[in-house]
């Protein structure tokens, strides 16, 4: 779990701060060598849309995938922005985690809107209590649980759509660069709930309405390989080592209760 102290740099000598900051920048570069800046991706989205326009428009299947992704990102972005606005909900020492994640979701929304252009749908009307089932913005525990559910679902959702983008490799690549960021978000949110960053066999404290988020993640046979046979690693860690996809229908069933229109 990250120990977060935004004022840690305040009491240090300037040259020490410089060293830390420059090291941080170099670490950041490792994390984001190429597609680091959001501007790059948004510009890319526009270029990608233009390229498709010249060849008679974006294939319907690609539009469908991007619109699906946009809906999920709008849901996530709205969730974090509402959570951050709710006074006293998010503890000060982890606020910055959700500001970071929320900021990323905003960038994903901007990217997808740019890629879709006129095809981009309106933001859906949302109800994060799912009709009163969750006290989402009244309880930090509930907020965290839903953050985990949305991130784990988001990651599995992108993964599920990837095969549909094979004929549009640039879009596929961009979707994957979002997919792995959703996985990073999921891991850190899980760690705030004192869970492992990866998904184990059991999901303690997950109510029935959230359980479908983790359906079908207990496989020990992958693509015809029985991993219990070829690996001496224990079953729990075998199932953790792969994250399986969710179909669009499965994702919409999970997200449905939170979407009013």
């Amino acid at each position: 779990m990250p120990r977060l102290n935004p004022n840690a740099l305040a009491n240090l000598e300037p040259e020490v701060v410089n060293q830390i900051v420059s090291r941080r920048d170099s670490l950041r570069r490792i994390g984001g060598t190429l597609a680091g800046a959001a501007g790059f991706s948004v510009a890319f989205a526009a270029a990608s849309r233009e390229a498709f326009a010249q060849s008679g428009g974006m294939p319907e299947q690609v539009v469908e995938v991007l619109q699906f992704a946009l809906t999920l990102e709008q849901l996530e972005a709205t969730f974090y922005s509402m959570g951050l606005e709710e006074e006293g909900l998010i503890p000060d020492d982890v606020r910055v985690v959700f500001e970071t994640i929320g900021g990323h979701e905003d960038e994903h929304v901007a990217f997808l809107e740019e890629a879709l252009g006129d095809d981009a749908g309106e933001a859906p009307e949302l109800d994060f209590t799912a009709g009163g089932m969750f006290d989402t913005f009244e309880s930090y525990d509930t907020f965290l649980l839903l953050a985990q559910a949305f991130e784990d679902t988001g990651q599995r959702a992108y993964r599920g759509q990837a095969p549909k983008l094979v004929e549009a490799p640039d879009v596929l690549e961009q979707a994957l660069t979002i997919h792995s960021v959703e996985a990073r978000h999921a891991a850190v949110v899980r760690s705030l709930r004192e869970l492992t960053g990866w998904i184990p066999l059991d999901q303690p404290g997950v109510p029935a309405a959230i359980a479908p988020v983790y359906a079908g993640m207990d496989l020990t046979e992958k693509y015809g390989v029985d991993l219990t046979e070829v690996s001496s690693i224990e079953e729990k860690q075998i199932t953790e080592a792969f994250d399986e996809p969710l179909t669009m229908e499965e994702v919409l069933a999970i997200a449905g209760p939170f979407i009013v229109s």
Binding site: R24, V97, V166, E167, P169, V230, D243
Partner: protein, 238 residues
Amino acid sequence: MSFHTAPLGRRRFLALSGASAAGLVIAGCGDDEEPAQTTPAEEPPPEPMADVTLDFATTAGVLNYAYALEQLEAAFYAQVNKEFEANGETFQAQLRDIGAHEQVHVDFLAAVLADDAIPALEPNFETVDFSDRESVLQTAFTFENLGVGAYNGAARFLARLASEGDELAPTALMAAGDIVAVEARHASIIGAQLEPEQDDMFAPNAFDPAMPPAEVVAAAQPFITQRIAVTNADPQGG
């Protein structure tokens, strides 16, 4: 590598791998492109000869690329889990989990590749201080992010192969997708540990990199004894 040691390198490769399995070609035949040289013209640096060349025009080549990186990661965590004492049982357990996941990835890829697999790689971790938290975590963070960038960047090669009708490529693409998410989860947990006074190292950017194979291999090469080369690895190439 000097002229008269070249045949030894070649012999060593042949001994390691058998023959030219699919996805592998024997390098050192003169058509490898080297980066632009900046040293004086009168003394050109010797051309390093590759022990293993990964061919991105084949699914086996792309999978061997993954296999090489996973071998590197698995070997790294095996040594971490032998020699490094983490601060706290939770993080120690996480490092054991991560190491186990990398080994599962190795075992999976070895099973998928079967006779097409590249030989076992010999890691070189002499620059890593396994008793030092900073050194271990920075190396781990580098490897995990490299893994994420590598898988993300490899997808377009598998997509191209799939479009061309290659039967294995769609499955390889899906497996890579299942694995990269777990690498990203690792990167997040390591990133959060790495610099606790910083807040966003778990996900430094809204978009992860999709790295070209040549860049990934250049970054990984210092940690691998064998020389790795890539071919047909231009992301924009046809």
